[in-house]
């Protein structure tokens, strides 16, 4: 057991701390989406989001291992450095680099499977936050059973012509591009008939209809395609290989849905709140039942945090096998976060239900918002029931369900 990062990282940590000091309070002129449940000091310099992305890339704090010619820093991947950056930024309340489906899912996919032209064209603007992507996978009749999707793509005179509908498409209303799964080989069997296409959202024939979600924000959308035409070259991988291409990125998505350190920060905010608030004149932290539930969830989060250190360690030490420890992260991380946010609401009682711009609201209603938001993540990204199928079948080798007849 060795939890130290080694002396070579001491200087790096210092460098990051200095950087954070210089940029303390940085904020953005062009509306920022900041991950919830974190607060950022915003009394410093005002720049654009794209400027911030370039600063981070230039110094190797973001897109570190992505080659220079595609807009990255062009260095060696260094998991420990990434971790130091994440934790120092979070301590100093400096906004992290942008994330999102383009950066987290599309870029790794293109790096692995894209053509040279695709890499040159798409990666740089995506990293800079100039090109936002949405993920067009789910359809009204293809959710957990994604491979049954029916949106159709036909190659006509050197163009893909697309007809059909996607649903639950997060951020489609702001996106410039969509990476999309489309059925291009209707004769082939389910999984073999799908292709992975890159679709400009300003194409003629695309209609985006925002869907208001439980939090009352328009978190996702319906996207309709009527004879949408895109160049033949906007395909990643070959025709009919889309399922494999998509699977290369699903792993990236699941990894990015839960962050144990952010969850622990949330536990600490809850503790602060319990020290500050009272009921019947008694501090919340002094009420034994609340205290017991607090410590209970703190223990769960500690375990989850330690689990992620173990997974990190296996990336640095090839002899460690953490297959199961990795496989459980989406299930465990989303459930814990939902439970934690819900606990805060219970502890606040009626005040915990205040929302939007209500008088007496605490923390901008973030506990209630995040409680609901995480229910969305329990469902999205492969539902937690599907996660349990994966853990039991692929992790524990339990027998698959016999194929049912179609109903």
């Amino acid at each position: 057991m060795d939890l130290s990062y080694g002396p070579e990282y001491k200087n790096f940590k210092k460098e990051i701390q200095d950087f954070c000091n210089d940029w303390k309070g940085v904020n953005f002129s062009d509306g920022v989406q900041i991950s919830l449940g974190q607060s950022f000091d915003n009394k410093g310099k005002t720049i654009t989001r794209t400027e911030w992305q370039s600063i981070l890339i230039e110094r190797g704090y973001f897109a570190r291992s992505i080659p220079k010619e595609y807009g990255g820093y062009g260095g060696e991947a260094d998991i420990i450095k990434s971790r130091i950056i994440a934790s120092e930024f979070s301590n100093a309340e400096i906004p992290p680099a942008m994330s999102g489906q383009g950066i987290d899912m599309l870029v790794p996919t293109l790096l692995e499977l894209g053509t040279e032209d695709q890499k040159k064209k798409y990666i740089k603007p995506t990293l800079l936050g100039e090109m936002i992507w949405c993920q067009g996978y789910s359809e009204p009749n293809a959710g957990s059973d994604l491979a049954s999707l029916q949106t159709k793509g036909e190659l006509i005179n050197g163009s893909w012509v697309i007809n059909g509908q996607k649903i639950w498409t997060s951020t489609a209303q702001y996106s410039q591009m969509m990476f999309c799964l489309v059925r291009t080989e209707p004769e082939a069997n389910k999984h073999a008939g799908i292709s992975y296409l890159l679709i400009p959202m300003d194409s003629i024939g695309i209609e985006v209809r925002p869907l208001v979600d439980m939090t009352l924000k328009a978190g996702f959308n319906e996207v309709f395609f009527t004879d949408v035409s895109i160049p033949e070259s906007n395909i990643v991988g070959n025709r009919g290989e889309g399922w494999a291409v998509a699977n290369a990125t699903l792993g990236h998505e699941r990894g990015s849905l839960t962050n144990p350190n952010a969850t622990m920060n949330r536990v600490n905010s809850l503790i602060e709140m319990m020290k500050a608030e009272t009921v019947n004149g008694q501090r919340l932290i002094d009420i034994p039942v609340f205290k017991d539930r607090l410590i209970q969830i703190q223990g769960k989060v500690m375990a989850f945090q330690s689990n992620s250190l173990r997974v990190l360690s296996s990336k640095l030490n090839s002899n460690q096998d953490t297959k199961i420890a990795s496989m459980i992260q989406k299930l465990v991380g989303t459930e814990i976060r939902h439970e934690l946010e819900g606990l805060a609401i219970d502890i606040m009682g009626e005040i915990g239900t205040l929302y939007e711009d209500s008088p007496h609201i605490r923390d901008n209603g973030s506990w209630q918002f995040t409680y609901m938001y995480y229910l969305g993540l329990i469902i999205g990204g492969g539902t937690n029931q599907i996660q349990k199928n994966i853990i039991s079948e692929r992790g524990l080798g339990m027998p698959r369900e016999p194929k049912a007849k179609e109903v």
């Binding site: 410590i295 375990a303 640095l316 039991s392 339990m398 027998p399």
Partner: protein
């Protein structure tokens, strides 16, 4: 950076597991638990001592292996996994740590060397400090002790007892002193024995440093809690393995029960609950060894969290076996009961969480 057990630790752990698989099959455990074979039980204990479990935590200068608590968790996990009918937590973890922390040079040299060469074996009676029930009261005056202690750990074949009062003052008495009365308790877990000890004006050798502070008992209890957690994690893993294995053999409605989602999801949930406990356990043991500021909180959280997880696993794994799970024949209950008792030892989850809150100042 390396987070996890080292090759040496894994190697040692595997040796303990192999030994138990060889010498302590379920049939043997049953015989021993029914009280039918004390010789076999002593053989198993001796075999493990030959592997070195008694000297793990004893500094080399006293003849031990001078290893750390993380090493001991690796062993304890194997013992729990095999529901081993042996002494470990009290005799070979809590006692050496208490003596090493609390004893003067003479005491250390006498007792630690004694443990290392297996001339001395300790039972541990710290209940009065952790959570005294029935107003049992240990009073230590000068060099005499009176009172009673419930749930003494690892009393079997002990030559000495470590006993503490409410303030964490620790002393050593000889088990066969005429003023010591041992009353056997019958718990659900028949793989290990627990006793009540009555002390009637018995000579006691007070560990010198424990007169002025309770550092030694705190460390000893932290370690004990971590080791019991490891035992429960080992027992839980065995239960999951057995449930998964059974689900691949048993058929109902013309298919393996493991293909039913209700069964699959129980197994996935048990796995998702248990897996992070390993990391928490190792982290806590590492904190005990080298991060003193975080050690106490992590020890409490590890014991409390793994106790909760293990309890649910004990229930679900039994359910996966259907009626067979409920039989004595199948023996699932040995693991169920081991987990049930570990949960209460050295503080039930609620009591420990109360302590965890205090440690953090609330």
């Amino acid at each position: 950076m390396y987070f996890g057990l080292s090759d040496d630790q894994i190697f040692f752990q595997e040796n303990v597991s192999k030994f138990l698989a060889d010498q302590a099959s379920l049939d043997v455990i049953k015989l021993i638990s029914d009280g039918g074979n004390d010789t076999k039980k002593a053989d198993i204990q001796r075999g493990l001592i030959n592997l070195g479990i008694n000297g793990l935590l004893i500094p080399e200068k006293y003849g031990g292996l001078g290893l750390d608590l993380l090493f001991a968790t690796a062993v304890s996990q194997s013992l729990g996994s095999g529901v081993a009918p042996v002494s470990f937590t009290g005799s070979y973890v809590m006692a050496p740590i208490a003596i090493n922390e609390g004893g003067n040079d003479g005491q250390k040299s006498k007792y630690l060397s004694g443990i290392a060469d297996n001339a001395i074996k300790f039972g541990v009676a710290f209940t009065e400090y952790v959570g005294s029930r029935e107003n049992a009261h240990i009073s230590i005056n000068n060099d005499r002790v009176s009172g009673s202690a419930l749930f003494t750990l690892d009393i079997e074949e002990s030559t000495h007892l470590l006993v503490s009062n409410q303030n964490g003052k620790i002393g050593i008495v000889e088990t066969n002193h005429k003023g010591v009365e041992v009353i056997k308790l019958t718990t659900i877990d028949k793989t290990r024995n627990f006793s009540e000890i009555l002390f009637n004006d018995v000579d006691i050798d007070i560990l010198e440093k424990t007169i002025s502070n309770d550092v030694a008992i705190k460390k000893s209890i932290d370690a004990g809690r971590i080791i019991l957690s490891a035992d429960s994690i080992g027992a839980s893993q065995t239960l999951i393995d057995k449930a998964v294995e059974y689900s691949k053999e048993r058929k109902q409605f013309g298919r393996f029960i493991g293909s039913f989602q209700a069964v699959k999801h129980m197994c996935a949930e048990m796995t998702a609950d248990l897996e992070p406990c390993y990391a928490l356990l190792w982290h806590a043991a590492h904190a005990f060894d080298s991060m003193p500021d975080e050690a106490r909180l992590m020890a409490c959280q590890t014991k409390s969290h793994t106790s909760e997880v293990a309890k649910v696993i004990a229930k679900k794994a039994t359910e996966v076996h259907g009626g067979m799970g409920f039989t004595d024949l199948m023996g699932i209950h040995y693991w169920f009961k081991r987990i049930g008792l570990n949960r209460q030892l050295l503080g039930s989850p609620e009591l420990i969480r109360e302590e965890a809150a205090k440690i953090q100042g609330f």
